[in-house]
């Protein structure tokens, strides 16, 4: 109603925009809970608590969206709410098609929310879905009038009753939109403010409402009494008010115990705390020599402990549980198995396992791919399973746990496994593998990570366009992780993803270039070797090449790249970098130490400089640059590639 006032006045002030944006942000959480609730509905069809929760969610969404003025959204939610109401009352049971429709509804709302984020005035086509939901309300089968006549009398009358109920609900919400006011109050708006707005409307517009606005306004102030009043007059609105009551009551019992904090603030805290800990260590090391007051000494010791504790706490602020991501997989498995007509039982273990937010965000897509693959490529259809003597229902298990400073996610299926022979054949067909090469079965199945190898015979809607596992592998490796595949023909496959818990710390080696120290991430380093100056073939101005176990590789001097002097010696330390299809050697002056490196953001003025990943503070307090060798030498590598091929050929010819 508030919005109606504003809109009729013909302006959209900042306050309203703020409300809308706030709503869109909050609705994400709402949708997430809705999705998992819908999915639970599939197995717990008559769980009254669950249905209540779903109804509350829908009602909440409807009310708030109407309150902030997203009319299409509230219109659509309203229809869905009617459907849920039917389920709640027990006049309908949650069939597969109803759950599917509800999920479709959730997807649509999500799509709308995303779009509205870009354009607050966006409009959508909601009629198709609305019709579909209404069809479900009418028993799913009744689509046209002809069908209606064939339906039994009972159903027809029921439909009529339902239609009436629907009308009631409609009139209720459009006339007062008490829900709107409630949700405004729920969303934490100052009651005084609402009061004011309503009062404003009172004086300025008395159009849309049938009731005296002041009445409502009193309602707000004395909500508990209103409930009683409602109960005492079961005239028109017999069912609908029941729900709002619950909503209000439940909400007040469960205060929101989390707040949204900007990630940058948390990073700032971590920064400062890290430095505090260092300072504290300095003081603590000198306290016995220089501080002779016992209490002071004791306090310094205590302080150290507290600092460490606070630091641990603040580090944990970036950690989030995997649960929402796993929840998403439930949906993926459901949709995929429905589409392929396979029966799948998904088992989730370790949902509470926590991981750094950045890692979590980038984990979603690869995981979707793997899970989808497991259902599509891994599991067989029910009849094939039965022939093989397995339970017709396939099992997919997602298991997450911590192992040292790593997060491990294991996706296991008990499907048909990967046939190494099929992979070999495919690889030879696609020219990935030489027909004469003899490789072990284990090596063969690892080929599925090779770009351009899809084992599925035909391209399906679900997966299998030839890109896939290689992208998954690259994604995981970009996160500094590893992916392992184990598979046994006929028994199933297991994919193990190993990820660092946080991206803020990497394993690196410290090198010296002239007088400066630089950090190279260990993940890029394939091996470290020594070569003699005679081993180097030099093409002045273009590239140097060296031979490593028969393979000709380009060789670059990091000092040259960093604008430093290159020492002429007879013995060079070479770091071999292997990333994707790029392999090359980098000559460094010296390798100092391998250690865990805390990545610090660079100042904004030099951020994103080519080849620099970030910086790290060394033990002496001096900053050092973390170099991305791949980025640093990428262009040089492309240049030298021609020479490499030429030499390679001539060696083989010789």
């Amino acid at each position: 109603m508030l919005v109606t006032i504003l809109l009729t006045k013909g302006f959209m002030d900042e306050f309203e925009i703020e409300l809308k944006v706030e709503f869109l942000n909050e609705s994400e959480d709402l949708l997430e809970s809705a999705e998992s609730a819908f999915l639970r509905l599939e197995t717990e069809r008559e769980n009254a608590d669950l249905l209540n929760e779903i109804f509350r969610l829908a009602h909440n969404l409807k009310g708030t969206s109407k309150a902030v003025g997203f009319n299409q959204l509230s219109e659509l939610t309203h229809v869905a709410e009617n459907l849920i109401l039917k389920l709640k009352e027990g006049s309908l049971t949650a069939s597969d098609s109803i759950v599917s429709t509800l999920l479709e509804f959730k997807d649509k709302v999500q799509e709308m929310v995303e779009e509205l984020k870009n354009d607050l005035d966006a409009t959508f086509d909601i009629e198709t879905l609305k019709a579909k939901i209404e069809q479900e309300i009418n028993g799913g089968v009744v689509a046209t009038s002809e069908n209606e006549s064939t339906a039994s009398e009972e159903t027809t009358t029921e439909t009529v009753v339902e239609a009436k109920a629907t009308e009631n609900v409609v009139s209720e919400s459009s006339s007062i939109s008490q829900a709107a006011i409630e949700s405004l109050l729920e969303s934490g708006m100052d009651p005084e403010l609402v009061k004011q707005m309503l009062a404003e409307e009172d004086t300025e517009e008395k159009v849309e409402t049938k009731q005296d606005p002041r009445m409502e306004f009193e309602n707000i102030e004395k909500l508990p009494e209103v409930k009683k009043a409602d109960d005492n007059k079961p005239v028109v609105e017999n069912k609908p008010p029941a729900a709002p009551k619950k909503t209000v009551a439940k909400k007040s019992n469960e205060p929101d115990e989390s707040i949204r904090v900007k990630l940058s603030r948390i990073d700032q805290i971590n920064n400062v705390l890290g430095e505090l800990v260092i300072l504290q260590t300095v003081i603590s090391q000198r306290r016995y020599e220089h501080i002779h007051d016992e209490l002071a000494n004791k306090s310094i010791g205590m302080m150290g402990k507290l600092f460490k504790e606070v630091q641990e706490l603040s580090m944990s602020l970036r950690m989030l549980p995997l649960k929402p991501t796993f929840q998403k997989m439930t949906r993926i498995v459901r949709d995929t198995s429905k589409l392929l007509d396979k029966q799948v039982n998904l088992n989730l273990l370790g949902e509470e396992t926590e991981v750094d937010k950045t890692v979590l965000e980038k984990l979603g897509d690869p995981l979707v791919h793997i899970v989808r693959n497991a259902v599509d490529h891994g599991l067989e259809t029910a009849d094939i399973r039965q022939v093989a003597g397995k339970d017709p229902v396939g099992n997919v298990e997602l298991y997450a746990f911590h192992e040292g400073s790593n997060l491990v996610i294991q996706v296991t299926d008990d499907g048909k496994g990967i046939d190494p022979e099929v992979i070999k054949k495919k690889a030879i067909e696609n020219g990935i593998l030489n027909a004469n090469t003899n490789i072990s079965d284990q090596e063969a199945i690892q080929l599925i990570f090779h770009p351009g190898l899809s084992t599925k015979e035909q391209v399906t809607e679900v997966s299998g366009r030839g890109v896939g596992m290689d992208v998954v592998k690259t994604n995981i490796e970009n996160l500094g992780g590893e992916i392992k595949l184990m598979s046994k023909k006929g028994q199933g496959s297991s994919i193990k993803i190993i990820l660092p818990l946080t991206l803020a710390i990497i394993e690196g080696i410290v090198i010296r270039a002239e007088n400066d120290k630089f950090v190279l991430p260990l993940s890029q380093i394939y091996e470290i070797t020594q070569i003699q100056s005679d081993d180097i073939e030099s093409f002045t101005g273009v590239a140097s090449l060296f031979t490593l176990r028969g393979e000709v590789l380009p060789l670059f001097f990091i000092n040259k790249k960093l604008g430093k002097k290159v020492d002429e010696t007879s013995n060079y330390t070479v770091i071999v970098v292997r990333e994707m299809s790029y392999t090359f050697g980098v000559v460094v002056d010296d390798i100092l130490i391998q250690q865990q490196i805390v990545i610090k953001k660079l100042g904004e003025d030099i951020q994103g400089k080519k080849g620099i990943l970030g910086s790290a503070i060394m033990a002496d307090g001096m900053p050092s640059l973390i170099l991305d060798m791949f980025e640093l030498f990428k262009d040089d590598f492309k240049q030298s590639r021609g020479y490499q091929k030429f030499i390679d050929k001539s060696i083989k010819a010789a």
Binding site: V272, E604, I606, G608, S615, P623, L625
Partner: protein, 160 residues
């Protein structure tokens, strides 16, 4: 500048005055976060000559720029009494090396002439104004344009 009519109440602003070579310069005190003695820095490969390097300022990595080299001013005495002014403009923190710090000036707007009428070693687009006193001139510098803050912001927006 006596052509300015006596105002109701003169607004005064504070500036930090420092030396580069033989001349006095100043910047708005509000953009100054702190002043520190010259820290040890780590150089950045392939950077322009005025870019001194990066430093660790209590856990934060900050770039240090030599203002004298950037503005082509001959230093007073190499490495004599250098100081670093940490400025923060539009959320970006940068350290600036100067010859020495003088004092905080409390200047009313009427004493700042907008058009630089004097010859200076500094490129005119970097100058925000000139403050005249009996002792001499102080050039008020526009750090935002000297440090290319706008360009940095633009680059970020593009990257984002």
């Amino acid at each position: 500048m006596n052509n300015v009519e006596p105002e109701k109440k003169e607004t005064k602003e504070r500036f930090l005055q420092f030396n580069l070579g033989q001349e006095s310069y100043a910047i708005h005190l509000l953009s100054v976060k702190e002043v520190i003695p010259c820290p040890s820095t780590t150089s950045l490969p392939n950077s322009p000559n005025y870019y001194v390097g990066i430093m660790n300022l209590r856990g934060q990595i900050i770039s240090i720029v030599d203002l004298r080299k950037k503005l082509n001013i001959t230093p007073k005495d190499e490495g004599l009494e250098e100081a670093v002014i940490i400025v923060e403009i539009e959320g970006i923190g940068i350290g600036v090396v100067v010859d020495s710090i003088n004092k905080v000036l409390n200047i009313s707007h009427s004493t700042i002439s907008e058009v630089p009428e004097i010859s200076s070693q500094v490129n005119a687009k970097y100058i925000e104004g000139v403050h005249k006193t009996d002792d001499g001139l102080t050039i008020i510098l526009d750090f935002e344009s000297i440090l290319n803050i706008k360009e940095i912001k633009n680059m970020q927006n593009k990257a984002a």
